[in-house]
């Protein structure tokens, strides 16, 4: 698609994205010991009161969500749920009354496999065994009052209405479990691990992913792209930015797609972790360290239906301040529930790219310098032009001509040399350019030793280049502003525009330092605006040699040159 097409499509998408949605619709249901809420838009506050208006609980969500569960202890009758949500930019409030069933003395539920649905703990239940044993969980919930529940594993004390207890029940074979007056028959079904492994396929990991497991198209693929640590620290300390700064918030998600071609569903434990070399990468560990048991792994349970596919979505935690650029490995492996045998595993190289604080800071400094130079020029230009004689203006303009000719000639040479020497061509051709440029500027300063002469020359040169080659882009203008600010600034500091005679030392200060800084600013501009990369040592080399040393050498030639030309002017 052409750029115009992209632009049009962007406009349409933007319009669709910003179109006004409908009102906030909320569905609320009492489940066990609280309310489960599903809303048409993310909600941020859920407030639950009795029908008499007595406050029971308020939940202000750190991250707005469309599906929320809020636990309610001792509801004492029906409750009213007040919801505050956002539809677009508009805040909407909805209130719903929910009937709360009368509680019994206690309830018992069983989970045949971790992560599976809870079911009433009575009757017969099959427990798949992928190894010698498995564990199932029984959940006991108190009714309207504290209660002691006798079980085959001992009595369980539920100390308050609505309180819960979880029993882990080891299963190695068939067994019957009594809970109060309930009887639960557990039937052990042995499964073949190697057969299951052969039936399982782990598809490529999807990173970064949305919470629903689809690829996050807004971020670079297979990479963690972060601003510079300095910027992250600023955001963290000011509490601003896109992402919540709570340590438990994931940076993104990774989707682990698993296919099961076998005849029976498989319950799996899916684990992901990131390593730096052989060791788990500390900067990728879940923020709540106790949650991963110190392993650095994030786990999830996944049931893959027979002949089907499931996708586990696991959070990826990143220490956005501490993580360094480089390539890490994002591992994923699946084990059957109850067995340590790894059925499948995969590794995704995970690149971390960080913004460079020095380049970003340098770019900002360059911008400021450039704007200052241009603003100063705009402010003082009419005055310079009023005071200058026509001869001075023409001399200045024709020095611009000579500078253009010299720089174009050396550009051509540089370009040819660059085909062989690459970025090091300027180390050889720079001496010619710097010598030519320095003698011309020195002569100009000799003939017109006053503020504004350099700025006029640079400005006129930029505009002339624009007319001759069309080089009038924003980076060119920024560079021109910096050249003016640095050139005029250092010429003034050295005294050359304050009536001091031209000497090698003054010229070296005026041109050497300004050119070194100008080279640095130019590289920063290239780094940010043209997305180019330069090694630090290369930047130092450029600033040190063509930027500074060559100019110093040229200054030695420039002073006698300028002196001889002063005679011509006289």
């Amino acid at each position: 698609m052409k750029p115009a097409g992209w632009i049009a499509a962007a406009g349409v998408l933007f319009g669709v994205g910003c179109s006004q949605p409908g009102p906030l619709v909320v569905g609320v249901e009492w489940v066990g010991d609280g309310v489960e809420l599903r809303a048409s838009s993310p909600v941020s506050i859920v407030r639950i009161e009795t029908v008499d208006g007595e406050l029971l609980v308020v939940n202000a969500l750190a991250t707005p969500a469309s599906e929320v569960f809020v636990g309610v202890v001792e509801p004492r009758g029906d409750v009213v749920v007040h919801v505050v949500g956002w539809v677009g930019d508009e805040e909407q409030r909805v209130s719903v009354t929910v009937a709360v069933p009368e509680p019994g003395a206690w309830t018992a539920e069983v989970q045949p496999a971790p992560g599976a649905e809870w079911a009433p703990a009575a009757g017969r239940m099959e427990v798949p065994l992928w190894g010698p044993s498995a564990t199932i969980f029984v959940r006991l919930t108190a009714g309207a009052a504290a209660v002691d529940v006798p079980t085959g594993l001992g009595a369980v004390h539920l100390p308050a209405p609505g309180s819960r207890a979880l029993l882990a029940v080891p299963v190695t074979g068939d067994r019957v479990l009594h809970i109060g007056d309930l009887e639960l028959t557990l039937v052990a079904v042995h499964r073949d691990v190697s057969g299951a492994g052969a039936a399982l396929t782990l598809d490529p990991l999807v990173f970064p992913a949305e919470q629903n497991g689809t690829r996050d198209l807004g971020r670079p693929t297979d990479a963690v792209a972060l601003p510079s640590p300095v910027w992250e620290r600023v955001l963290a300390q000011t509490g601003s930015g896109v992402r919540g700064r709570a340590v438990e918030e994931p940076w993104s998600f990774v989707a682990v797609p698993v296919r099961n071609e076998g005849p029976v569903p498989i319950d799996l434990v899916v684990a992901t972790w990131v390593t730096d070399g052989a060791e788990p990468a500390a900067t990728f560990r879940p923020r709540l360290r106790s949650a991963d048991g110190g392993t650095g792994r994030t786990t999830a349970l996944l049931r893959v239906p027979a002949g089907g596919e499931s996708r586990a979505v696991l959070p990826v935690f990143v220490d956005t301040i501490g993580v360094e650029s480089g390539v890490y490995d994002l591992h994923a492996e699946v084990t059957p529930l109850g067995s340590p045998t790894v059925l499948a595993s995969t590794v995704l190289p995970l690149a971390v790219r960080r913004g460079d604080a020095v380049s970003s800071g340098g770019f900002v400094a360059t911008l400021i310098l450039s704007v200052a130079g241009l603003a100063w020029t705009a402010w003082t230009l009419p005055g310079w032009l009023r005071r200058a004689s026509t001869t001075d203006l023409m001399v200045n303009a024709l020095f611009g001509t000579a500078l253009f000719v010299v720089s174009t000639a050396t550009d051509v040479v540089s370009m040819s040399a660059g085909a062989v020497l690459g970025p090091f061509a300027t180390l050889f051709t720079g001496i010619l350019y710097d010598a030519g440029r320095t003698v011309l500027i020195a002569t100009l300063l000799q003939l017109q030793p006053r503020p504004g002469a350099l700025a006029l020359s640079v400005l006129c040169g930029w505009m002339g280049r624009g007319v001759l080659t069309g080089a009038i882009s924003a980076p060119d203008l920024l560079y021109t502003g910096v050249a003016i600010a640095l050139g005029e600034g250092f010429a003034w500091i050295s005294g050359l525009t304050r009536g001091q005679p031209l000497t090698v030392l003054r010229l070296s200060i005026a041109l050497g330092l300004s050119n070194a800084l100008l080279t640095l600013c130019g590289l920063w501009l290239h780094t940010v605006m043209y997305r180019l990369t330069f090694a630090s040592w290369y930047i130092a080399l450029q600033v040190g040699l063509p930027g500074f040393l060559y100019v110093l050498l040229a200054c030695r030639l420039a002073v006698p040159f300028a002196e001889s030309l002063r005679e011509v002017d006289a």
């Binding site: 698609m1 052409k2 750029p3 992209w6 632009i7 499509a9 962007a10 933007f14 669709v16 994205g17 993310p42 677009g88 198209l217 807004g218 601003p227 910027w231 930015g241 896109v242 992402r243 956005t320 690149a351 032009l385 009023r386 004689s389 026509t390 001869t391 203006l393 023409m394 001399v395 303009a397 024709l398 001509t401 000579a402 000639a409 370009m415 660059g418 690459g422 970025p423 010598a435 030519g436 006029l456 505009m463 002339g464 624009g466 007319v467 001759l468 080659t469 069309g470 080089a471 882009s473 924003a474 043209y530 997305r531 180019l532 990369t533 330069f534 040229a554 040159f561 030309l565 005679e567």
Partner: protein
């Protein structure tokens, strides 16, 4: 009789010592007065005093009184200067700024606030009707001279001053200008001109000779150069040094020389003569190896060194003595400084060459070339603007050094006195090659010289062929407004910074490159443009391949301690499309828009803001002289090469010193040209502090507005998307509804 020009006991002291005057002169309306005298006698200074230039631009001290139309010319405002005075400077080519003849003439009218409808009549008056939209650089030298004359006359001034207006013209072109001057004077204008070639000015009312004679007297005095010594060896038995056989060299497929044959023997002094554009400079360039023949062959025995038309370009040393010693020392010989006295430069050995007077610089240029002991010395109109006596002295000095000489000239008197043989070129072909006594050209020139003034007037003015449609450019140009083009290139510059993806950047780069390559004016540039783009892509890929710091990194090749990374090279290749898009887009602007239009566009007012005209004029001057300075720099390098060893056969520091020294004549020329240009602008009413109108404004059409709005809308859309995405990736601001937009930006930008 009312005198329009009154100079009473005017004296001007130069800051460096020496002076002119006291000098008195009165000129009435209708008079055509010639100011003659030896080189350095102060003629130009007097004319500049009358024009008020010395008063406004000089650093010396002036006493006495000068009035023009009863006013002090130094105190006239810009508009008044244009109405009262017309001035034509020495170097016409250095006074032209505009890209069209009409623009050049309109400049003075803008200064005086006069309507642009005077442009046509002014051009017609000097025989340049229909030349409005032609580029002054593409017309002949004589036509340029008349163009400047038209610019000076457009505001119908009372006084017209000209400083050596005929020096660069052939006799025919000079006659044409003289006819115009006579006609102008006859209309009541007081005309004063400085000229050496008095033979062309028989129609003048008075000739005032400066230097020893009382001023304001109609005395015509010319010192004839000494006749050639009787024993001069013009013998066919002499050794042949240059042999041209059927040599052809053409510019633009037409101009140049066709099938030229001639022989130069040792000891000869060959004059190459002919009208402007006859091919003299081309032939000189072929002799001195500046050009290589397209057809035919040139046999050279020994060295041939040229002193170019502008002799300043030969002078690159710090002192006169160093200049003379350069060539001998390059070849390991001792310098012979007695040559200083031979060429009248005794006592000037420690002076900076560029600080000498014009005549001295010419003598030094010739002397330093002669010091290199060439077998053949070639001079390309090197003596123009010098008085006959000075030239006779110069050629005598050359003759004493026994150098075979080939020179081109317009001046029959000089040719008759100096040459042993005359080669007449016309239309790029040799039409006559005879010993001086039998030269047909000299015979015809003699007839011209004695023709009565009255007989000159009815003759038609020679002009170039009518301009072709393709050559016509100007306000009626059918295309986008120049301001819009500048804005579009600016928008392109922002877009290439905003886009990051290979697809849009490549699209922009390809679009711009193809458009630039397809432009008719890019015909000669196509290969260079493609090569430059390829080099740019290659060097950016190489640079980024070496410096790629992000991950992943796949090594491609190890270069010593450096590794070339695949991902970096690909990244560099993608990024180079930015530069190609920018460069090609800019070039397209430059190719498709005449500089004149661009400069007018720079004067555009946006709301209350507009660029100061003085800055615009600076840009125009900068742009105008880029090709001139480039050619001059090349000439300097060639002149040095002819007198010395190859530049790379020395230590790096010595090499650098030579490179820097070669800029000296270029810069000196720039300073001199700037002064001349400033005076030309000054006399055409330019004042840096005064606002002025635009005589020939650009026309902004509705279609331009539509296109601009479309481009701006696109730019705003792209920038907006980019800013939103930037806020998201920088962790600053995010909105879940914009996720499709973020995805789109990532995929498309």
């Amino acid at each position: 009789m009312t005198h329009l020009i009154c100079v009473d006991a005017a004296v001007y002291q130069f800051p460096s010592g020496g002076g002119v005057g006291p000098f008195s002169l009165r000129v009435a309306g209708g008079e055509l007065v010639v100011l003659a005298g030896a080189t350095g006698s102060g003629k130009s200074t007097v004319v500049r005093m009358i024009a008020g230039l010395v008063q406004r631009h000089g650093h010396g001290r002036m006493t006495g009184s000068v009035t023009v139309c009863g006013r002090d010319p130094g105190a006239l405002s810009g508009g008044e200067r244009v109405r009262v005075l017309g001035f034509v400077g020495q170097e016409v080519d250095d006074c032209i700024l505009a890209g069209t003849c009409a623009g050049e003439v309109a400049f003075a009218l803008e200064s005086a606030g006069l309507p642009a409808d005077r442009v046509g009549p002014a051009l017609a008056r000097v025989g340049l009707a229909g030349f409005e939209d032609r580029d002054p650089r593409e017309i002949s030298g004589g036509e340029r001279q008349r163009l400047i004359l038209a610019a000076a006359l457009a505001a119908e001034p009372s006084v017209l001053l000209l400083d050596e207006p005929l020096s660069q013209l052939d006799p025919e072109g000079a006659r044409a200008v003289v006819r115009v001057l006579r006609a102008v004077a006859d209309e009541g204008v007081a005309v004063v001109l400085v000229e050496h070639r008095l033979g062309l000015l028989a129609c003048a009312d008075r000739v005032v000779t400066m230097g020893g004679r009382p001023p304001d007297r109609a005395v015509f005095h010319v010192e004839r150069p000494a006749p050639a010594p009787a024993g001069d060896p013009v013998v066919h038995a002499a050794r042949p040094l240059l042999d041209l056989r059927q040599v052809t060299f053409l510019y633009d497929g037409a101009r140049g020389v066709h099938g030229v044959d001639f022989l130069v023997r040792e000891g000869e002094r060959v004059a190459i003569v002919g009208g402007n554009g006859a091919g003299k400079s081309t032939l000189i360039g072929l002799l001195s190896e500046r050009f290589s023949p397209m057809l035919g062959a040139i046999l050279r025995v020994g060295s041939v060194i040229e002193v170019p038309q502008n002799a300043d370009l030969v002078l690159f040393s710090r002192t006169v003595a160093a200049e003379l010693a350069y060539a001998p020392e390059e070849w390991g010989a001792a310098a012979d400084l007695t040559i200083l006295a031979d060429f009248g430069l005794a006592g000037l050995g420690t002076r900076a060459p560029q600080a000498l007077s014009r005549g001295q610089r010419l003598r030094l240029a010739v002397a330093s070339t002669v010091a290199a002991s060439p077998d053949v010395l070639v001079l390309d109109e090197a003596g123009s603007g010098q008085d006959p006596a000075s030239l006779a002295g110069l050629f005598e000095a050359i003759r004493r050094r026994s150098t075979t000489t080939v020179f081109s000239s317009h001046d029959p008197e000089l040719v008759a006195a100096i040459a042993t043989r005359v080669v007449w070129l016309d239309g790029g072909r040799v039409v006559d090659d005879q010993p001086v006594a039998a030269s047909r050209w000299l015979g015809l020139a003699g007839q011209v010289r004695v023709a009565p003034a009255a007989a000159l007037l009815p003759l038609p003015l020679p002009t170039s062929p009518p301009p072709s449609t393709a050559a016509r450019v100007g306000p009626e140009h059918r295309g986008l407004d120049a301001r819009l083009r500048i804005l579009l290139v600016g928008i392109l510059g922002v877009l290439v910074v905003l886009f990051e993806g290979v697809v849009p950047l490549s699209g922009l780069a390809c679009g711009c490159l193809v458009a630039a390559l397809a432009h008719p004016r890019a015909v000669g540039w196509r290969r260079g443009l493609v090569v430059a783009s390829a080099l740019l892509a290659w060097s950016t890929a190489l640079s980024q391949g070496l410096f790629w710091a992000a991950w992943p990194r796949t090594p491609v090749v190890q270069l010593g301690g450096l590794t070339l990374w695949k991902e970096g090279a690909l990244h560099g290749l993608a990024q180079s499309t930015r530069f190609i898009a920018l460069g090609a887009g800019g070039l397209l602007l430059a190719l498709s828009t005449p500089s004149d239009e661009l400069i007018t566009a720079l004067r555009a007012r946006v709301g209350r803001f507009s660029l100061p005209f003085a800055l615009v004029i600076m840009v125009a001057a900068m742009v105008r002289f880029v090709p001139v300075v480039a050619v001059e720099w090349a000439q300097v390098r060639r002149a040095r090469r002819a007198r010395g060893r190859p530049i790379w056969r020395r230590s790096p520091s010595a090499w650098l010193a030579v490179e820097v020294a070669l800029l000296r004549p270029v810069v000196a020329r720039c300073v001199r040209r700037a002064r001349m240009l400033a005076e030309s602008l000054d006399t055409r009413g330019f004042d840096p502090a005064s606002p002025r109108g635009i005589a020939r404004p650009l026309i902004w059409r509705t279609s331009d507005s539509v296109l601009l709005l479309g481009a701006l809308a696109g730019l705003v859309g792209v920038s907006g998307c980019r800013v939103l995405y930037g806020l998201y990736t920088a962790d600053v601001w995010y909105h879940s509804r914009l996720r499709p937009l973020y995805a789109f930006v990532r995929a498309a930008f």
